[in-house]
């Protein structure tokens, strides 16, 4: 009789330094029991699952899964201090999946330890700086001579010509805004960088009514978070600017 052993899965949450078996209880996705698999000084925080990805068209369900994913990593961070987080839905498969995980920890030991060392004692924060288009446009209209002159011209011009002058004003404003955005980006970036061990530029997101200037992930030492906050306060106080400061997050953006 040939019994074909089915493939199992181990859902990976994160990796940490550790030598003791740890159980976290049923805090995993779909209330699965979360525990650690050890290998030579490193441990992977996992739960047992089928050898298939978590997939659903129900968006609320997927959000709950991702929240659970994040929650487990947070709990692991409380226990282990420094962790390397994994993306949602990474599942190591195998006939003896636990062994696969242990082997993987062993094989990647150097890389994992390098990453743990890099992020030790630091936290990741999100910094998003936006401005209110209308406020900045108003400032530019008042300060730039070219625009003030064009506004005067429009009042005297016939309809057709006025249309093109209006386009010209739009173009001047746009150019002015782009130049200012560039200046501010550079200045803010260099100032913020002083408070970070490492910094990543992320894609700007779309926010209603505001223009996002920069979206950063900052890896900062715990004792420098206050000074980072003070720098952001300065920027937030500038007329028309607003800063969104989130975190601390597990160091998702700084793993290589």
């Amino acid at each position: 009789m040939d019994v074909k052993t089915k493939e199992q899965g181990r859902y990976l949450y994160c990796v940490a330094e550790g030598n003791e078996q740890t159980r976290f209880g049923r805090i995993g996705i779909e209330s699965n029991e979360v525990y650690t698999i050890l290998s030579n000084g490193l441990c992977a925080v996992v739960h047992n699952c089928k050898a298939e990805a978590y997939y659903s068209k129900d968006e609320e369900k997927v959000k709950e899964w991702i929240k659970a994913h994040q929650n487990v990593i947070d709990k692991a961070q409380e226990r282990f201090e420094t962790v390397i987080p994994l993306s949602f839905d990474v599942i190591i498969k195998g006939k003896n999946a636990s062994k696969e995980v242990a082997n993987w920890l062993q094989a990647e030991k150097e890389r994992l330890e390098r990453n743990l060392e890099k992020v030790k004692g630091k936290q990741e924060f999100g910094v998003q700086i936006s401005w209110d288009n209308k406020v900045i446009e108003k400032k530019l209209s008042e300060e730039k001579k070219e625009i003030k002159n064009l506004v005067k011209e429009i009042k005297k011009a016939p309809r057709g010509k006025a249309y093109f002058i209006k386009q010209k004003i739009k173009k001047e404003l746009k150019g002015g805004m782009e130049k200012l955005a560039d200046q501010k980006f550079k200045r803010f970036y260099l100032e913020i960088k002083k408070h970070c061990h490492d910094i990543k530029v992320e894609k700007n997101k779309r926010i209603e009514e505001k223009q996002m200037l920069m979206n950063l992930s900052c890896l900062t030492e715990k004792n420098k978070v206050q000074s980072l906050g003070r720098e952001l306060d300065k920027i937030n106080k500038l007329s028309g600017f607003s800063v969104r400061f989130t975190g601390p997050w597990p160091p998702y953006s700084f793993i290589t």
């Binding site: 298939e52 990805a53 994913h69 390397i84 987080p85 999100g126 978070v225 800063v243 597990p250």
Partner: protein, 101 residues
């Protein structure tokens, strides 16, 4: 200024990180997800016209969309956002969060 992790305000930040970042693993160790066709409209195809849309398989998606609307009208499904698994590259699963706003 203090950093915030207020749950409702930072859900998008969590999704961003958990879906797009984190440690990369060799593809042969992990579960593969079959590429699922994109749901949405390819702008080029739209400009090209209806026949081309048929060619691109767009009508299939529109047909599905029409059916979804009909079902919604019958109070069965409410789909404002879709999280769709697009496929896998370099040991990382690509997932897209589609917002209708």
């Amino acid at each position: 200024m203090q950093p915030t992790r207020e749950k409702n305000a930072t859900l998008a930040d969590v999704l961003d990180r958990a879906l797009n970042k984190g440690l990369l693993i060799n593809a042969d160790l992990i579960i593969s997800v079959a590429d699922i066709p994109l749901i949405g409209v390819n702008l080029k195809a739209a400009i090209a016209g209806m026949e081309t849309m048929l060619e691109y398989g767009m009508m299939q998606d529109w047909d599905e969309a029409l059916r979804a609307i009909a079902r919604k009208k019958r109070g069965i499904i409410d789909e404002k956002e879709k999280i769709t698994v697009l496929g896998e590259k370099n040991g990382r699963r690509t997932v897209s969060l589609l917002r209708s706003k």
